[in-house]
Symmetry: C2
Subunit: 169 residues, 2 copies
């Protein structure tokens, strides 16, 4: 089967987000063994002018739902970004996977040349084709935030390795 | 044009590696303004059991050349991983982009179902189809190491923002 806009988006997002769920379980075990509140992860930052852990998870979720919705010609669902605990972040990730997998593949496929306009700050937009939106914006952004989640957990001492990052082959 | 194995690999690698070149320039300016040896970046680690900066660059390069070569049915070039300065890392990145762009698109295209076997430590291998190799192994690994390069530089105080990460649209 040739690659398609669906095969190069939804399975990538779903698999990496499933891996993130396992990292959060590992982070919770680490917090229990060291006797600290797992909620402490949510405010961690790699640098004071970088976004905290909870936002990294929310934006990994946003990148997924916005990509899938826009490629399919749908309005992306709006979610309130009010998660305050690891459990709520886990629920957000599960909801994201479910949403991505709920959009029929046929609605994404063939969207290579579809014009996609996304907000880029006050009064500005970026315009892409479906293909450049997936390849040059959505996938790089998604992997950025997923890797930041991993980097913050590793930096915090959580035991994770490259195979946890990649997940089941 | 439908997506192809070439369009979803070489342009992604080439663009992100071009962005990395600009981050290294920014890192060098930061070192000059703070009067430290830019070679100090090469040993930085986010955690003591994570690979240092220089290895992150070398592995981003390896992921690219190995992906392109294997999809094209070629033996990946072997490079010695002996870079000791930012300049040598820049040269490694440029050589990687040139190699990736030197392989004709037609040699990658149609490799979705090609069997790809990669070494996975002593006596072990992973076997993929071209599609799962690209989607579930090469792209996640590539973005992991590129994001780690960015994370290490941000953590070290280099002025970079999300638009530097994404590069020219």
């Amino acid at each position: 089967m040739p690659l398609s806009m669906h095969s190069m988006s939804v399975p990538v997002f779903a698999r990496m987000l499933t891996n993130v769920l396992a990292w959060l379980d590992q982070a919770e075990k680490h917090a229990e063994s060291r006797k600290f509140d797992p909620g402490n992860y949510l405010g961690l930052r790699l640098a004071p002018d970088m976004l905290p852990f909870a936002r990294q998870v929310q934006i990994a979720s946003d990148t997924t739902k916005n990509c899938v919705a826009r490629l399919a010609g749908l309005e992306p669902p709006k979610w309130p970004d009010d998660e305050k605990t690891l459990d709520e972040l886990r629920a957000r990730i599960r909801k994201t996977i479910e949403y991505a997998q709920s959009v029929p593949a046929a609605q994404l496929d063939g969207s290579e040349a579809r014009e996609i306009t996304v907000p880029a700050g006050p009064g500005r937009t970026f315009t892409f084709t479906g293909e450049t939106f997936l390849r040059g914006f959505s996938l790089p952004n998604f992997f950025f935030h997923v890797t930041m989640i991993y980097a913050l957990l590793r930096h915090a001492g959580v035991e994770l390795g490259k195979m946890d990052y990649l997940g089941a082959p």
